[in-house]
């Protein structure tokens, strides 16, 4: 499904590309080696040839710290640049140090921006990076952005600046429209990957929407992956069909919901070599049984399929067509498919090799039981709510979680939305699934205790951090006291990403976390009673973190200023949203380390202390 995306959310190294908070080695200015003796230069060339084989950025960071010579060699040979926070370092610093970059990954807004907690216009504009890169990276092949704002102008500039450009991946980005996509399609003749994942395109009137699919060159293309299910507008289907027909290398295709089953059949006929298919609407565009027969043969012909998604507006009577490929599927995304347990069971029973499964809670605990019995190899499960409100009935509960834990012993990652949960089920999962790396449980009703005992959910989450020794990412919910956070601080030594909402009783809670979680890199907190004194408890650690986000807690300007004064390389942003008149109260806080000092593109509602 989104293998690349899941990689992106896990940070392998403790620091960024360059910051160890040691003195800047050599700086950016010493690039050319003009002052380096010849013999050293020979050694460096040898080193560069060796370092080419080093791909992990953690290894590269370590290598760059050995000595100046290694620093230079590593800088010359780094091909993949990863910037976890686009404001941690200035574009020029990056481009001056790394001269041979072919691929760049940039992350922008904090994750809570996905939930409307970061006001529009906050920042993370790609254009400043593009201006820095365009003149110095003519060989750039790949741009991958997450939660950044990229404008049509930027897309145009990409198309004109990088003649070898191959891969554009935009995840949760905004600011662009079909106008920009058309320019990319038209000008990037070597394009292999165009992946648009959960982006928010700019609104366009009907007369403004551009038929970008028609803009791909008429000749055979190099396309390997085309993902555009988030591009909501209608498009020229014949153009897409023709494009697929002249893209022999196409392996991944995810279309939007305008594609009906009849059209899907035609696409599959053109591309039987597909490995990943996003099916669009999975409903017939007309009345009649003809579509069903042909669909079965379409899937029969697609022997390489390992990943299926889409299924919006699914008409379950057509699902049997996919049975033939189910045995080969490693990834199935039903998270937009409103299916009951009865409709799910016959499908899932065929999916014996499934590793990743996303589903809606409409299948209920009963559906999850079927999953637990059929998918013994499951590694990742995500259960999304059909009705994402606090008062919804909720169809899955601790019963489903317990069933999953008993059947899917190899589970590594789980995201589970529910209305009711028990400590017992969570404890059971902690014991049955020791390989858990990601545990995200969202009990949608705030402060909801154990369904049966009425106790807080402290013991359940405590068991998770105690028993799951590989846990690196944790999201907590339900009624939680400081004790839960104490457990996390004591046992969650490997936790890198922690999400806390409506939890804790006092400053102690945050203090336990900040003092205990020595590996913590990303901390997001909302609506919890933590005040300035708790914030101060993390001063020893904030330079090791990528960011801290807190909203609707008990922070004041005085406390935040205190932290800002103690840590000069920490950017402390106070984001106001107009709901408070009290100048002293801090509604939203976003802190992150940076080599550059306060950014100069902050909008008026952001105050940098």
């Amino acid at each position: 499904m989104r293998e690349e995306a899941s990689e992106m959310s896990e940070d392998e190294e403790a620091g960024g590309a360059k910051e160890r908070w040691a003195p800047d080695l050599g700086g950016g200015g010493e690039g050319g080696g003009s002052a380096v003796p010849f013999s050293d230069r020979v050694l460096e060339i040898v080193l560069e040839n060796v370092l080419q084989f080093l791909t992990s950025r953690r290894d590269r960071n370590a290598a760059s710290l050995v000595c100046r010579s290694w620093y230079r060699a590593e800088a010359q040979t780094r091909r993949d640049l990863f910037i976890g926070n686009c404001y941690a370092v200035a574009p020029r610093r990056a481009t001056e140090r790394f001269r041979g970059v072919r691929s760049i990954v940039l992350k922008g807004k904090p994750r809570f921006a996905d939930f409307s907690l970061v006001p529009y216009g906050w920042g993370a504009h790609f254009s400043s990076w593009l201006f820095a890169m365009a003149p110095v990276y003519p060989w750039l092949e790949r741009i991958c952005l997450k939660r950044m704002t990229i404008a049509d102008d930027d897309l145009s500039r990409i198309a004109h600046s990088f003649p070898l450009f191959k891969d554009l991946t935009l995840i949760c980005c905004d600011g662009f429209s079909t106008v920009g996509l058309a320019i990319i399609a038209d000008k990037c003749r070597h394009l292999r990957v165009l992946d648009l994942i959960e982006d928010y395109l700019e609104d366009e009137d009907d007369d403004e929407v551009v038929d970008w699919i028609s803009r791909f060159p008429e000749t055979t293309t190099s396309l390997e992956s085309l993902v555009f299910d988030c591009v909501a507008g209608a498009f020229n289907f014949e153009a897409l069909e023709a494009l697929v027909a002249r893209s022999p290398g196409l392996r991944r295709l995810r279309v939007n919901h305008h594609v009906t089953l009849e059209q899907l059949r035609r696409l599959m006929a053109r591309a039987p070599q597909l490995t990943h298919l996003g099916t669009g609407a999975f409903r017939s565009g007309s009345v009649g049984a003809e579509a069903e027969l042909d669909l079965t043969s379409s899937f029969a012909a697609s022997k390489s399929l390992v990943c299926l998604s889409g299924f919006r507006e699914v008409e379950p009577e057509y699902l049997p067509a996919i049975y033939l490929v189910c045995a080969n599927l490693t990834s199935l995304n039903f998270s937009f498919a409103n299916l009951t347990a009865e409709e799910l069971k016959p499908v899932i029973q065929h999916c014996r090799n499934l590793r990743t499964f996303w589903v809606l809670d409409t299948v209920g605990d009963e559906g999850l039981l079927a999953v637990s019995q059929a998918c013994r190899d499951l590694r990742e499960l995500r259960v999304f709510p059909l009705d994402a409100t606090e008062d919804s009935e909720g169809s899955v509960s601790d019963i489903g979680l317990q069933a999953i834990s008993e059947g899917c012993r190899k589970l590594q990652s789980i995201l589970y939305f529910c209305q009711q949960m028990t400590n017992a089920a969570v404890i059971a999962m902690s014991k049955n699934c020791p390989d858990l790396v990601v545990f995200r449980l969202c009990i949608m009703g705030r402060h909801r205790p154990d369904r049966i005992t009425g106790e807080p959910m402290d013991e359940g989450f405590g068991a998770i951090v105690m028993n799951c020794k590989k846990l690196t990412r944790l999201s907590v919910s339900g009624l939680l006291t400081d004790k839960a956070l104490a457990y996390i601080g004591k046992y969650g030594k490997l936790v890198r990403t922690l999400s806390v909402a409506f939890a804790g009783n006092s400053d102690l809670g945050l203090r336990y976390v900040l003092e205990g979680c020595s590996g913590l890199q990303k901390l997001e907190i909302r609506d919890s009673p933590f005040s300035d004194s708790a914030l101060l408890c993390g001063v020893h650690h904030y330079y090791n973190m990528r960011f801290l986000w807190m909203n609707s807690c008990k922070l004041s300007m005085r406390g935040c200023k205190d932290v800002a004064e103690r840590l000069p390389n920490l950017i402390v942003e106070v984001i106001t949203d107009g709901t408070t008149n009290d100048a002293e109260e801090v509604e939203r806080l976003y802190m992150y380390r940076s080599l550059e000092g306060p950014r100069n593109d902050a909008p008026p509602f952001v105050k940098i202390l």
């Binding site: 409307s116 201006f131 102008d153 905004d174 402060h447 609506d527």
Partner: protein
């Protein structure tokens, strides 16, 4: 589930015993934990709390919170002597945000009456909110229905494109997708008043937030800033990656009075195209749906409807 004997009229819990922990935990400073509890117990007022949802168990306890005079959150949650945690949830006090969680009714299997309320008024506004919330519950004492909670921004943490699945997941024609788009737009831009603005000769339009300005002059300056660079780039498309200094780019002036090369016009909610600057500013921002920067030479009298040029004293 055994309900507590002292159900009626329960106020401050006097004697509190510690629950035996199933998982033994050595806290960073074990003593401090109980010291904190001691302190909080002494300070605790009792405020009836609501919000939990129990379908199977009759609840009869209280959780105690202290709302300090400075609005700080000092309370801890008390334990009862039976060793069961009978917490019903917080009454979320967010005085500034103005969100007060409406209390949920308990579904009470045994039909036991709810706790009578003990409102030890704590002076500050937060407690007032609590009191009003509590009285609402008291009035609906015997009701078994749940009231809906006031929604909180960004909770549950679901991205907006997943929020309207209930409507888009079953076969339906187009419109509901637009509603999800509208939802996205509202959530992300709820504070600004963004309208599209296009300029003659520039293929890619922009957006401006009309709420960011309070006068036509400021809007005109902003339009100038927005398009000046693009106009220069259009004239010199072979200069990628370089940013000319501000002086090198030609300023766009005279947008409002017809004296410049370009003129600013807008389209109102009836689709009429009008000159910008004729009506009071506030009226303008409430009716303007999009803006255009047209070449002054292209304007002809018949394509525009000019509003009477009477300016009021409120014009800036």
């Amino acid at each position: 589930m055994v309900s507590r004997g002292n159900s009626g009229g329960q106020s401050c819990v006097g004697a509190v015993e510690e629950k035996k922990l199933e998982l033994r935990l050595g806290l960073p400073s074990g003593e401090e934990w109980s010291t904190v509890k001691e302190r909080d117990r002494e300070q605790a007022h009792s405020v009836e709390s609501h919000g939990g949802h129990f379908s199977k168990v009759a609840k009869s306890n209280i959780s105690n919170f202290c709302v300090g005079s400075n609005g700080g959150f000092l309370g801890s949650v008390e334990l009862n002597s039976q060793g069961f945690w009978q917490q019903q949830g917080l009454l979320q006090l967010q005085a500034k945000a103005g969100v007060v969680e409406e209390p949920k009714e308990k579904t009470n299997g045994s039909g036991e009456k709810q706790q009578s309320l003990d409102k030890k008024g704590c002076g500050p506004p937060e407690a007032h909110a609590a009191a009003s919330g509590n009285s609402a519950v008291a009035n609906n004492n015997s009701s078994q229905t749940r009231t809906t909670t006031t929604p909180v921004v960004g909770w549950p943490p679901i991205r907006s494109f997943r929020k309207n699945i209930a409507y888009t997941s079953k076969p339906f024609p187009e419109p509901q997708n637009e509603s999800s788009k509208i939802v996205t737009k509202i959530e992300s831009k709820e504070k600004g008043l963004f309208v599209k603005i296009n300029m003659d000769g520039i293929p890619i339009g922009r957006k401006v937030d009309l709420k960011a300005y309070d006068s036509y002059e400021k809007l005109s300056l902003a339009v100038d800033e927005l398009f000046r660079g693009l106009l220069a780039a259009q004239k010199d498309p072979l200069a990628p990656g370089t940013q000319k200094s501000a002086e090198e780019k030609q300023a766009i002036t005279g947008l409002l009075d017809g004296s410049g090369e370009y003129t600013l016009v807008y389209e109102d909610d009836e689709g009429d195209r009008l000159l910008v600057g004729d009506v009071p500013w506030n009226m303008f921002i409430s009716t303007a749906k999009r803006l255009r920067v047209l070449k002054s030479s292209d304007l002809c009298a018949s394509s525009l409807r000019t509003v009477s040029r009477k300016r009021t004293a409120t014009d800036s």
